[in-house]
């Protein structure tokens, strides 16, 4: 594994570039410093092609039509005005039509939306989760709605010595070898943590590894962890639901019943509002049900009345690495 040089250009000479994300091999006409480049890309066959071109008209997409997107089970059309238009087809092809955005902006909306839609098209339901790899090589995932503190917690756990697994999204799949969906494996997205400048400053992490601004006018940064990234599917040891507790005064961590686990995990599927429009309702229900029945799911509450993020990270660390000092 190696760290990628963050220097890049959008249209490059030795294309295609080969990357690995969510366990898929991507062949791209443009450079993505955020993505992981396999060690021996020569001759590798790709699952997905990414190219620059002209996207079809929005009206040609049957199914859900929203102000900036249109989609069905096999097609996804997404416009970020002034940046780019993205068209994802049959889980195999992504076309990017440039509309004047900077390189990092074109990549940002590609990574959050085009890749997410691609996963749905391939029946890989993505979970809105960050996670770390345990000493034994399993993973603990922590999931929650946006702005609950997943990335901050991931960052703090890495400061405590944990190895980062993924930030914000991963895909989960049952292990067919073990049968009856009793075990689940998670595959990471790509090796970047997205952190607010305020968070980086607060925890005194001056320029940790390669760090770049996500957009010129937004105080949010991508922090690389290519050097520690693992592309293989890893067994999920547990899922921790993070909750900002408005009323409570104590940090609490409790194991949920299968029913409560189902409800909690179901809410945290990435881009949950795409499930019906992309025709994945049944697959989603079955997948989350199996997950909730077979993986330990915990609810971790953090009182928001006090500044408890360090203590909270310590409590989560005790679940992940019992007996080890944070």
């Amino acid at each position: 594994m190696r760290n990628i040089d963050p220097e890049m250009t959008l249209v490059n000479s030795p294309a295609p570039f080969i990357y690995q994300a969510f366990g898929l091999i991507l062949s791209s006409e443009i450079v993505f410093p955020e993505l992981f480049m396999p060690d021996s890309p020569a001759g590798i066959s790709s699952d997905v092609s990414i190219r620059l071109g002209k996207a079809p008209a929005k009206e040609s997409i049957t199914g859900t039509q929203k102000p900036f997107s249109a989609y069905n089970a096999t097609e996804f059309w997404f416009l970020k005005p002034g940046i780019a238009l993205y068209y994802v087809k049959e889980g195999r092809e992504i076309v990017i039509e440039l509309l004047g955005g900077s390189e990092e902006e074109v990549r940002l909306f590609f990574l959050s939306n085009a890749l997410g839609a691609l996963l749905y098209q391939r029946d890989l339901i993505p979970l809105h989760a960050s996670g770390v790899i345990t000493a034994s090589g399993d993973v603990y995932l922590f999931t929650a709605p946006s702005r609950t503190g997943k990335s901050t917690l991931l960052y703090m756990l890495t400061q405590m010595g944990c190895r980062p697994f993924t930030d914000d999204v991963c895909v989960l799949q049952p292990d067919e070898q073990e049968g009856a969906e009793t075990a689940f494996y998670a595959t990471a997205s790509y090796p970047v943590m997205k952190l607010w400048g305020e968070t980086i400053k607060k925890f005194e992490a001056d320029a940790p590894q390669a760090q770049r601004k996500l957009r010129p006018d937004i105080d949010k940064y991508g922090v690389n962890f290519h050097h520690a990234f693992d592309t293989s599917p890893l067994k999920v040891k547990g899922i921790i639901i993070l909750e900002a507790d408005k009323a409570g005064k104590e940090i609490s961590i409790e194991k949920l019943s299968a029913l409560d686990a189902f409800r909690a995990v179901e809410k945290n599927v990435y881009r949950r509002h795409w499930v019906e429009g992309m025709g994945k309702g049944i697959a989603h229900f079955r997948h989350v049900g199996a997950l909730a029945n077979n993986i330990p799911v915990y609810l971790a509450k953090r009182p928001v009345q006090q500044d408890t993020i360090r203590t909270f990270a310590g409590a989560i660390h005790q679940v992940i690495a019992p007996g080890q000092e944070a």
């Binding site: 929203k66 102000p67 940002l108 939306n113 957009r215 937004i218 105080d219 408005k246 009323a247």
Partner: protein, 279 residues
């Protein structure tokens, strides 16, 4: 574009009766029952979650200018998706972007109900809401021409520009091109039935006197406070002891120091006179 004008904005400076009226509307449309944690109205204009579900974009990865422009599309889309009237809470002052276009889409707006309350009482209630000293509330919000709610970048709501209290009132009562029905909190308390009955007719809702009375009873201050005591209220600020605090007029007389009342009266003299809060 749908061509429907079905959004009713429930607009107010904070702590001016907006939540009470939303509870009343919920009860009115729900057979006289209201759960304060499941209000039947359609969210708040500053919600990032609503914005993201329509735009398919992460709100925290957008610039302030982009958010302003995209929000109009979000509410046009929501209007199109709603068959009936939809009631949207808003604390933002009524404002336009750099091109002079209102930040809320007027083309899908039916009307607004604007709730106004004596700023002396607002200061007391808002201080309790934020669990902060009244003096700080006056400086940071009531008398601050740049007063803004939810400024933290990772907050669940977009920043809500309030301006100062007078400018907020003026922005909503003078600038919109659609009808704005003003309700004074003091009148809502003094003559609840007639004030509420009158405004729902203006909005275009038709209910019997019995239905209106049942909704008023279900959304009375005591009933809402009892619910908050029993099961909490998710709109309460974490540090605030309670959301439904006193619900009366004139509490400022016991709480504000004379100089604090004077500084508010002096700053807002013109608008307070216009609204009948200073003779």
């Amino acid at each position: 574009m749908s061509g429907k004008k079905n959004i009713v904005w429930l607009a107010s400076y904070p702590k001016s009766g907006n939540t009470w009226f939303r509870a009343f509307l919920t009860a009115l449309q729900n057979g006289g029952e209201v759960d304060i944690n499941k209000m039947g109205t359609s969210g708040i204009f500053s919600s990032k979650e609503i914005f993201e579900s329509v735009c398919d974009m992460d709100a925290d990865e957008l610039t302030a200018g982009e958010i302003q422009r995209l929000k109009r599309s979000v509410y046009r889309y929501r209007s199109e998706q709603h068959e009936k009237k939809m009631f949207v809470k808003i604390h933002d002052a009524f404002a336009c972007d750099d091109a002079g276009i209102p930040l809320i889409p007027e083309d899908v707006t039916h009307c607004a109900v604007y709730f106004v309350r004596n700023p002396l009482d607002v200061a007391v209630s808002f201080a309790n809401h934020n669990n902060q000293p009244v003096a700080k509330t006056i400086d940071k919000y009531i008398n601050n021409p740049h007063g803004t709610l939810s400024n933290a970048p990772a907050a669940n709501q977009f920043p809500q520009p309030l301006l100062d209290w007078s400018c907020h009132v003026e922005s909503w009562l003078r600038r919109p091109q659609f009808p704005v029905y003003m309700l004074r909190y003091e009148d809502m308390l003094a003559d609840t039935f007639n004030v509420f009955k009158d405004v729902i007719r203006k909005i275009g809702l038709y209910h019997t006197d019995e239905e209106i009375q049942a909704a008023i009873t279900a959304s009375s201050f005591d009933a809402l406070r009892r619910q908050e005591d029993e099961k909490g209220f998710r709109e309460k600020m974490p540090k605030s002891p309670r959301f439904f605090n006193a619900g009366i007029t004139g509490s400022w007389k016991q709480v504000l120091a004379p100089e604090q009342a004077d500084v508010i009266r002096k700053y807002h003299e013109i608008m307070m006179k216009e609204r009948g809060y200073i003779p």
